[in-house]
Structures are given as C-alpha cells and as structure tokens.
Symmetry: C2
Subunit: 145 residues, 2 copies
C-alpha cells in the first residue's frame, strides 16, 4: 500500500462515499438522496433561498444544483420561481409537502451514531474540530468557494 498511503486525500475520498452510503438506507424513507437531503436542510433552515445561496452553503455550483432542484420540484417538494426584481435569480420555495417532510427528517442526522458508538467523546469532538479547520483551509485555497 506504499503509494496510496502517501496520498493524504485518499481517506477523505473513501470516508465521504461510505458516509453517503450510510445515509442511503435511512433516507429511503424520505425518497431523498444525500445531496437532496442537504438541500432540503438548507431550505428548512431558510425558505426562499436563491440557487446561488444554496450553492454557497453546500459548495455546489449551478451545474449540480439546477438538475437536482428540478428533481425536487418534480417530487413536489419545492417550487422554483424567478425573481421579479432581478430576473436572473431563481428563488426556491418549499411546498407544503416539502415543509411537512421536515418532521420525518429529524431522525436522519443520527444515521452515523452507530458508527461512532464506541468512540471516545474526546476523539469525536477533536475530529469535528479538525474537519472544520480543514474545511476553512480548503476554502481559502479554492477559487470557487
């Protein structure tokens, strides 16, 4: 494993995919994918966000978000409405079913609890802290976000 072990990015790549997989089963009850769930979390926090604002929060661009939001619209969870003031902007509004889904979603965020079950609290909080630090470092070196 000499080569792969020298790649500092590799564990992050695998961990991210395994986490998405861990969310898959719990999210089936909402018929959402993991990225769709994250978009819904944004909107439950603040309804009526512009596409660009969702993109800022999730570090995703319109090439990813536009089709994803159209799928959420097709599921009748959101409405996409072009702003009248600035017709470049598209606001994303939760529909009633979209708002209602939040109650079902409260259990999802504990999907990783089993994974961390036998972890020391200290390690969990340290990892969280270092991941946030890394996120900031990466963003400050990123052109896009």
């Amino acid at each position: 494993m000499a080569n792969l072990e020298k790649e500092p990015g590799f564990p992050f790549y695998v961990v991210s995919r395994l986490i998405s997989q861990a969310y898959r089963e719990p999210l089936e009850s909402l018929s959402l994918t993991y990225p769709q769930y994250l978009v819904m979390l944004c909107l439950w926090e603040e309804d009526g966000l512009m596409v660009s604002q969702i993109g800022e929060r999730l570090s995703l661009d319109s090439g990813t978000l536009t089709p994803l939001l159209k799928r959420l619209e097709a599921m009748n969870l959101v409405k996409r409405e072009r702003s009248e003031k600035d017709e470049r902007k598209v606001g994303i509004q939760l529909t009633y079913p979209g708002k209602s889904l939040q109650s079902k979603a409260s259990l999802i965020s504990s999907s990783l609890d089993a994974v961390f079950a036998n972890w020391a609290e200290k390690d969990k909080s340290k990892l969280e802290q270092l991941m946030n630090k890394l996120l900031e470092s990466l963003k400050s070196h990123s052109q896009k976000f």
Copy 2:
C-alpha cells in the same frame, strides 16, 4: 446554520469534493481525473491486479471501475486481459506508457501541501489518525466494503 451544523457527515462531504478539486489542476499534466489517478496508484504498487482487488483497495464496485478502466485502456495506460484459469476474472496490466507515467506522478501527492502549510504537525497527524479510525469504523458497519 442550525440544521446543517447538526449533520456530522456534512464536513466530510464538502472536504472530499474540495480535495478532488485541489487535485484537478496538478492532475491535468497527466490527463487523469482523481479516481483514475487512484487506480493508477494501485497498479504502480502492484501490477496485474484483478478488477475486484482494485475495488477492495479503493472501496469501489465494478459499476464504477469497469468504465473507468476502459477509459484508461482507451488512453493506452492499461490493458484488460481476461484470466485463462478463471475466465470471470479480468486482470489489469500497465502498458509501457502506463508505467512511464509514474515518474511524472511523484509530485502529485503534495498537492495538498499548500492547504496544510500553516498547520501544526500535531494537528495533521491527529487528523490522519482519526480519519483512519473513522474509515475502519465505517467499513465495519458497511455491507459492501
């Protein structure tokens, strides 16, 4: 941010994508994507691996690897040869251009150095340690890997 902040998986999701983006520019000189680069790393470490063995090392299944390997074959970096002993198995051999590419690849693993430049050595090693621990925890809860 109340909702997103409660999602323990979110930072891993963003970090992984920002890391892939950070590798994009350095990897352009090899005309490789990040996942293709990881496959090549496996093969530079051990030539002639079966598809399933690459999948184990990278936690990827054949639905991802088969088309990726066909692209590497189209680039003349690998050959795919069905085993004579067990005709279900397909061995992946490096071509001469595939082997030669390794010399150009030595610089790639330092693509994140700038990101970690002002990090304390202690934090870096702690993060690496905790990520490997998390990887093991996730794998032990995974059906697939």
